[in-house]
């Protein structure tokens, strides 16, 4: 029961967090917390197979699928705070409290009896015993799930499929389009310039410098520019003074052989 009492508050807190966080990615993370805690509870409940399946299928596959879709839809797509039906939140909260109360009261009315435990049922291993049941008593249901999975896979493919409405642009078309753009607007037909590569900074948020010392707008992503996280090259030049001051006394001794560092011979001798 130790695992339960440690994990139950975490799970309830994380599940409540799903209700209140604004961003969908945070909700997915909190759901991952709940699911991994559930996996640990399964292990505590003598279900090692479901423990593995819970981690592999739920946390590994399903949550990753959620995150992929979130990335496709746009991570910053936050929930709207506008209530379409007036008083819906309050009504939902009351309904939830009622449902919780009914469930808890109902459960507390029931006597569950002594726990038999799975020591007999797991004789010879949990997985072989599950397989025995799955391939004898539940074999038809098991086979039906294959039809379900095939249907789901084909359904997802059909739904995600997009008919191509315009002919695919070939390399020759792209070259022609670029030259046409160059003739019309003067846009450079070659690839965009790479971000700046400086001595201390070469990340994508550093714009490249043009020959006249100004920065090239085309060398940084529009997203970074919109977020305002682009570093300026002159600011990096200011940095040089700070760094030199920090390293100042090291520079003075730069060319002197340092007495504290043992030479190779001494190191060999000490061994």
């Amino acid at each position: 029961m130790t695992a339960f009492w440690c994990l139950a508050p975490v799970m309830v807190a994380a599940a409540l967090g799903i209700l209140f966080v604004r961003k969908a990615v945070h909700a997915a993370m909190l759901l991952a917390v709940v699911m991994i805690s559930l996996a640990v509870l399964y292990a505590a409940l003598d279900a090692p197979f479901l423990f593995a399946v819970q981690i592999i299928v739920y946390t590994g596959a399903i949550l990753m699928l959620f995150l992929f879709v979130l990335m496709l839809v746009g991570v910053d797509a936050s929930d709207s705070v506008v209530e379409t039906i007036p008083g819906q939140r309050v009504m939902a909260a009351i309904l939830g409290l009622l449902l919780g109360a009914v469930l808890v009261v109902g459960i507390s009315q029931v006597t569950f009896g002594a726990v038999i435990g799975l020591d007999d049922a797991n004789e010879g291993g949990n997985v072989p015993q599950l397989a025995n049941l799955l391939f004898s008593k539940y074999v038809f249901a098991f086979e039906t799930t294959s039809a379900l999975l095939i249907t789901a896979a084909i359904g997802a493919m059909v739904l995600a499929h997009r008919e191509r409405l315009t002919p695919k642009e070939t390399q020759a078309d792209a070259a022609n389009r670029r030259m046409q753009e160059y003739a019309d607007t003067g846009r450079h037909p070659g690839p965009l310039p790479a971000p700046g590569v400086f001595a201390r900074h070469n990340a994508v948020d550093t714009p490249a410098l043009l020959p006249d010392g100004t920065t090239s707008e085309a060398s940084i992503s529009r997203v970074l520019a919109a977020r305002g996280t682009v570093r300026s090259a002159p600011a990096l030049a200011d940095d040089i003074d700070v760094v030199q001051r920090q390293l100042g006394h090291h520079d003075d001794r730069g060319y002197e052989p340092d007495a504290d560092v043992p030479t190779t011979d001494e190191q060999e001798g000490s061994k």
């Binding site: 909700a27 959620f66 939902a92 949990n126």
Partner: protein, 99 residues
């Protein structure tokens, strides 16, 4: 081991998932809450498997997981399709049948 705390935890998680489906407007988060409800029921099934001393509950939980996986695949594909046509993943925007 006692059964009641597990079942009560399962009920609480189910209730939270239920409220989440009612409250949240983002279709993906609504879907996550559905997953939370399925997980809560799984916890109850696995607990009862241990309490009753046979593996039928674990088999049922296994089937719930299979169905949940299939459901997530199709559901997320539907959300993607709606997002592609309406540029929104909010459940309020998919109200074409109303008009």
């Amino acid at each position: 081991m006692r059964t009641e705390p597990y079942i009560v935890l399962s009920a609480i998680l189910f209730t939270i998932g239920c409220v989440g489906v009612l409250v949240r407007r983002n279709a993906i988060v609504v879907f996550m809450c559905v997953e939370l409800m399925l997980n809560a029921s799984n916890l109850a099934l696995v607990t009862f498997a241990k309490a009753n001393g046979n593996l039928e509950g674990q088999i049922a939980a296994f089937f719930v997981m299979v169905v949940a996986a299939a459901e997530v695949v199709v559901g997320l594909a539907i959300i993607m399709t709606i997002f592609r046509t309406r540029r929104s993943a909010s459940v309020d925007d998919a109200s074409l049948l109303k008009y």
